[in-house]
Symmetry: C2
Subunit: 145 residues, 2 copies
DNA sequence: CCTGGATTTGTGTAGGTACACTTTTTCCGG
DNA sequence: CCGGAAAAAGTGTACCTACACAAATCCAGG
């Protein structure tokens, strides 16, 4: 048991979770702003891409792929379904659902891609040579922890 | 169309925002779980520490310090006030509010510190020598972007 | 056939996030 | 002194996040 003041200082100077959340907030604002003209948010945008990709055979599998709690994904998908961008139907395998983009979803995704690219380029330019290092660090956290 | 496929691949393999959000989600689940017995979440915990520290002279200044949108911070503070852990009153300087921990807030923070430390140690152990690098990367994103 | 465990999807509740817009207060130049 | 710019706090709406709990479906052993 050490001094509380010291521990609090340690939290301020070292907390991995605080730092990750701060970084996520900053980046989310940047990407959301860039995607604004398309009416999509970065979460919805990446979700559309993950659904189109189709390598996840169920909502549960997709949640794992996105390091997202399953029920969170369910709520996020609901928004996209109500917007007519994604459709879901029984896949025939177990109780799993099959997800796919609607025509409207494909169009919106197509329109959004350049806006994403602009944000991504701005971020990479800002970070310069440190971006590959940062990317690798983030992926290690995602995989490892 | 083929161009789009390539861009979508780029999003999956490279998006800074997606990676930051995934990392934040993973870490948040770990820290929230560790803090569970205290009834605090990691956001509330770090907010208590930031308030106790007292180097922010207003809610707006505190928001900047935490890379958080001002109105988000307002809502998060409201939860802590209703829980009786934080109190706010006019500071006398401009329209700014003065924030401070209640006795109850100090107690809860004291109880939570060891739980935070356990989570932090686990994460640092998992990342090993890469933790300093990851930390530095996150801080660069927070500052730079 | 059928039951019990494993897998998957769904709901209730609660908190975290932020944009657009508004309201309140202060401060300062004329 | 006064009127407007600047700064700070507050509200409406909508979406993101996740735990606890429940319901539906499938599959293997009896």
């Amino acid at each position: 048991m050490q001094d509380d003041e010291e521990l609090e200082e340690l939290v301020r100077e070292n907390c991995a979770c605080l730092r990750a959340r701060m970084a996520a907030r900053k980046l989310t604002r940047i990407y959301d702003k860039a995607l604004k003209p398309t009416g999509l948010r970065i979460t919805q945008f990446t979700l559309l891409i993950a659904v189109k990709d189709g390598r996840a055979k169920s909502v549960s599998a997709l949640a794992d792929l996105l390091a997202m709690e399953r029920t969170t994904l369910l709520r996020n998908l609901k928004v996209l379904e109500e917007a007519g961008l994604v459709s879901s139907e029984p896949s025939g395998e177990g109780r799993a659902l099959s997800l796919k983009l609607t025509a409207s979803g494909k169009t919106r995704l197509h329109e959004a891609l350049p806006h994403w690219q602009a944000a991504q380029r701005a971020v990479e330019a800002e970070l310069g040579d440190d971006w590959p290092v940062a990317k690798s660090s983030l992926e290690q956290i995602i995989r490892g922890v």
